[in-house]
Amino acid sequence: MLHLVAVLILANVLTIAANAQPVTLKGTVTDATTKVPVSAASVVVKGSTTGTYTDEAGNFTITTSQPLPITLEISAVNYQNQSVVVSAASGNISITLEQTVALGQEVVVSATRTPARILESPVSIERVGTTAIRGAAAANYYDMINNLKGVDVVTSSLTFKTPATRGFNGSGNTRVNQIMDGMDNQAPGLNFSVGSIIGLTELDVDNFELLQGASSALYGPGGMNGTILINGKSPFKYPGLSFQIKTGMMHFNDKGRDVSPYYNWAVRWGQKVSDKFAFKIGAELVQAKDWLARDYRNYLRQSSTTGKIVPGTRETDPNYDGANVYGDEASTNMRSILDIIGGNAFFASDFIKTLPTNIPVSRTGYTENEMINPNTYTFKLTGALHYKLAKNVEAILAANWGTGNSVYTGSQRYSLKDFKIGQYKLDIVGKNWYVRGYTTQENSGNSSNLTFSAIKLNEAWKSNTAWFTEYTLGYLNAKLAGKNEMDAHNIARGIADVGRPAAGSQQFKDLMKQVTSKPIPVGGQFVDRSDLYMAEGQYSFEQIKFADIMVGGNWKQYVLNSQGTLFADKAGEPITINEVGAYIQVAKSFLNEKLRLSASGRYDKNENFEGRFTPRVTALYKVAKSHNLRFSYQTAYRFPSTQQQWIDLDVVTGRLLGENIALWEKYNLINNAPYNPLDLSERITYVKTKPESVTSFELGYKSVIKSKLMVDVYGYVGEYQNFLSRRDAIQFASGVPAPNAPYSAYSVVVNAPGKVKTYGWGASFDYLLPKGFTAGLNLSSDILKDVPEGFRANFNAPKLRTNVSVGNTGFGKKKLVGFNLVWKWQDGFFYESDFIQDDLPAFHNVDASINIKSPRIRSLIKIGANNLLNSYYRNAVANPMVGGLYYVSFAYNVL
């Protein structure tokens, strides 16, 4: 086999040598409709291996030794192939390409870290390119992820969406890597990916790729449930000024808000100063009134992170704790106060004895609507300097900075206010290597925890002691006046709440300002100034012909700085966590390129955990032309997130603790081990946690049938073990459990025992109809099984979801009108999170847009709607209800 290849190569060399009478041809490739240069078009001399690509201006130069006339074959993604006969070497050859929709021709990088046709990717991958982004039925490019196969999204705010694949989604999911222009955009302290808050502006996104399923082997710890790579536009390739003005309306028929506008303005300026130097700057502002979480059902907390929805309203349950009502988490058993009253007022003592022993009462809360300023915004600022150090070596200095107001859901709802995050990198990219250093600088601004803020606001107005005493006396008086239980409670609440600051009043605003400017546990603010530093590099051995070999490595440091408000750090004494990793990938083709095998391995060591090796093996078998079978085995894992390692946060119902032994020592949990609250005979002792891991097998098939129908199907099984989870623990001051003995409640991080299996499948069909129409259907399913009893996996994936789409990139006389329509439906499932657990019903949603191109000014007008039917839905319990967003946009210089 090897010999054969060598002979062929030799034969080629000899052929070229024998005909060495070079002719140089020059030409330009442009779009037949828009007259825009087509870059990266392939130009090949027919019947030879000689070929080149057009540059950013559509120009190409090709030198061939074949005698004229020759035929040039030109091909480019999204264009029809074109052949041109050239009989003279003089002058500029002008070639126009007709737009078309080709299936399976996109080039993806993330699947193997090397460019490959999507059809030949050895693992499941989705790609969205510039054209698709331009015409998308989405108000924001980030929303497009929602409609990809196998993707679940949790919308915790208009500007805060968290995607995941193959289960285990939640707001601020830590199992999906999001890499933006080479930088992991996970906030180092808060652990969520800030994709929609900072990073590239819509005008600056060239494409994004989504790897479904486990992908740690190439991208490092964390990518257990997918990796998203978002890539920007090079200023060399996309110079000039472009801008986009998008204005919309939302909150039609919204129970929580009045109709209000949506603004999304973006501008980008790229400048190619010389052949060596180019730069770009961009900015984007999104401003609107946020979707509102308004689930006011009664949530019965069973521990700091578990509970269930139960019947009850503020008027019918004295201990009501509304899901999106905050401050009512503060609760006490009135019995203790009643007993004190009985001890002083003898005449009431026997009556008090007739009352129940357990009378839990909660303080009056404020709804999310009352707590949060509805204005949400994100402002992004990006810039990059590109300098070509040598022919194939480019240095890039880039900065992405963003700020905004948003809401996300962790163990509570968090108001991110003037949240800021900056990412700064220096990249040096060679033809077959790169080195990169970057840092993520997080600043939580004036962000606060809504539950805490409300509790502290209530207390700042009236102490719990005073409020509960007034309540109890009011209750007793009402009872003794013959009122029934609930009437007595409501009268008591009325008395204790006299003078309570009304939401929106000046008093309320002043108190709110007071409590949100003080960090937890005094106020509701959380201070997070954590940073991430990362250095990485990769090299492909081009000189080794035997196989394609690539090596890489990275060093990562987290600097956790919350001034003791979130982590167990202290002001001026941040906690650092160091991690190093290295990987190698070997790929080789066999059987006449019909079979391509690759093996990758990655080793990572976190200073707090034992090192982990993750292998990946992939195979791609070309059954026939455009019929590819793929198989992969991969493992992925993640170290406990920075919060799972070092959080030290009182959440009223208990204290969330990280897994680090220092925290156990801090609360004397080693010497006085806590108990399982559900079974006091079980003592919970410290066990060092292990990284969570998944082993996954995937079989897939991708094919383009008659250039009309692209089919992609996959099935996978995954097995998770050492699942990182929390469990409740109560520590008795005396060390021995006893009824009514004083205790402290904790939620500690543990590896759940046993293995959890997942399996699932996905299938997509994209069909090219005549006249540029396309139709697509995808279905996917993710199922969790073998869940041990009492184990909460937070799987959060439906058994079935589907997207149906129709679209056209250009129809009409001049092919200037395009549209897209996507219908998404997903089945209901039981949603689990630290914040809440309850049924999430099935829902569906239609996104649609229509666009008109104006080639003369290279502009695009788009009218569209997210949730066209304005049928409010939510994709996570106690998260906002999302309604229709209707927009119109004008984008200049985007064609």
Binding site: T354, L769, L777
Partner: protein, 362 residues
């Protein structure tokens, strides 16, 4: 063939989209569901039950007469009351022979009378009556003071006893008539709200001048930690059982001790000793009606901690009480019991049993 294929795809896809769009809207966000109040214990209110039963026409008339002066509303279906409901015979037996008499009484008196028959805010079924000595110290609907932080009402004393259920010193005749807003128990007589405090009862009775003098003597110099007794016996929010020795009882004691049988003797005795003897006659925070004592012999700690010893015959209607030092010589002496000559004198702040000997703690 190709056309069919193409059409099939395009049509079915468009159909799918159409079906999706026509599909019912997403589920509305569920509203919180109110907790239903526990089901009512009866279908009719107390008012309705009374109105439907001619045996309660006097009570109905009394309720009507009291009108808005009542502090409870028996027609309020959402409220919760325990009512000791006297039927017409109970009115007649208590000296109110007709509705006309009721209508001739002052509204305030009728209101006080009716209010005193109700325990608001709880539903005390016969089985819920407690057996603890002496009884349950509950609050009636007769408001004495509504000053904050906690209103004070005329106390009322239900009790389960071996001989059945009682309220104050009246037996329950028919128990557990369930209403939607409470429960009713029958009583054979009216429960008359007391009008005087113990101090007033004592002051108004010439048989207790020695006792009043003893109280004054003790209050002039109580032992350390001891409170003046007269203010307590005058306090409407207090609650006592007092075994009140008559003047003769004091004279008998003085005779036995060889002291002059005169009220002035009291002032010759040490104040602390007198205080201790008087306090020994009191049960604090207990209102023990005759019927609340256990049949036979029993003891209960007095205000000073030393137990009083009782000998009771419920059948014969006799109550006797002694202290550890009530002895008939010669030494070491035979235990002597003071006899209650009058029982259950009901005060706002307690009950008084007249006894024929002074109780001696030591």
């Amino acid at each position: 063939m190709k056309n069919i294929f193409r059409n099939w795809w395009s049509q079915s896809l468009l159909l799918l989209v159409a079906v999706g769009m026509l599909a019912s809207c997403n589920k509305e966000l569920p509203e919180p569901t109110p907790i239903q109040p526990p089901p009512a214990t009866g279908t009719q209110t107390i008012s309705q039950i009374l109105a439907a039963n001619p045996n309660y026409s006097f009570l109905v008339a009394a309720i009507a007469r009291a009108g808005s002066s009542l502090s409870f509303n028996p027609a309020d279906a959402t409220a919760k009351y325990t009512m000791f409901a006297p039927d017409n015979n109970a009115f007649i037996a208590s000296g109110i022979p007709s509705i006309a008499v009721i209508n001739g009484m002052p509204v305030a008196s009728v209101a006080a009378l009716v209010n005193y028959h109700v325990m608001p805010g709880l539903l005390l079924k016969a089985a819920d009556f407690k057996t603890d000595f002496p009884n349950m110290y509950m609050q009636s609907a007769l408001v004495l003071s509504s000053a904050p932080p906690l209103a004070y009402r005329m106390s009322i004393f239900p009790r389960k006893h071996s001989t059945g259920n009682w309220v104050n010193n009246l037996p329950i005749t028919s128990a557990d008539v369930m209403a939607s807003n409470g429960v009713m128990h029958g009583v054979p007589f009216l429960l008359s709200p007391p009008t005087q405090v113990i101090a007033q009862i004592l002051a108004g009775n010439a048989n207790f001048t020695y006792l009043m003098a003893a109280i004054a003597r003790g209050d002039a110099g109580p032992p350390p930690g001891g409170q003046a007794l007269l203010p307590l016996l005058s306090n409407g929010a207090a609650n006592f059982t007092l075994f009140a020795p008559t003047n003769q009882a004091f004279n008998n004691l003085f005779a036995a001790l060889g002291l002059p049988q005169d009220i002035s003797t009291i002032n010759a005795l040490p104040t602390q000793q007198v205080w201790g003897i008087v306090a020994f006659h009191l049960l604090l925070n207990k209102r023990a009606f005759f019927r609340n004592f256990p049949d036979g012999q029993s003891t209960f700690p007095s205000l000073i901690g030393v137990p009083q010893q009782y000998k009771v015959s419920l059948a014969a209607g006799t109550l006797e009480v002694r202290g550890p030092a009530n002895l008939i010589p010669p030494a070491p002496g035979t235990p002597y019991y003071a006899k209650a000559t009058a029982m259950d004198a009901h005060a706002v702040n307690g009950v008084v049993h007249t006894i024929d000997a002074v109780l001696l703690p030591q």
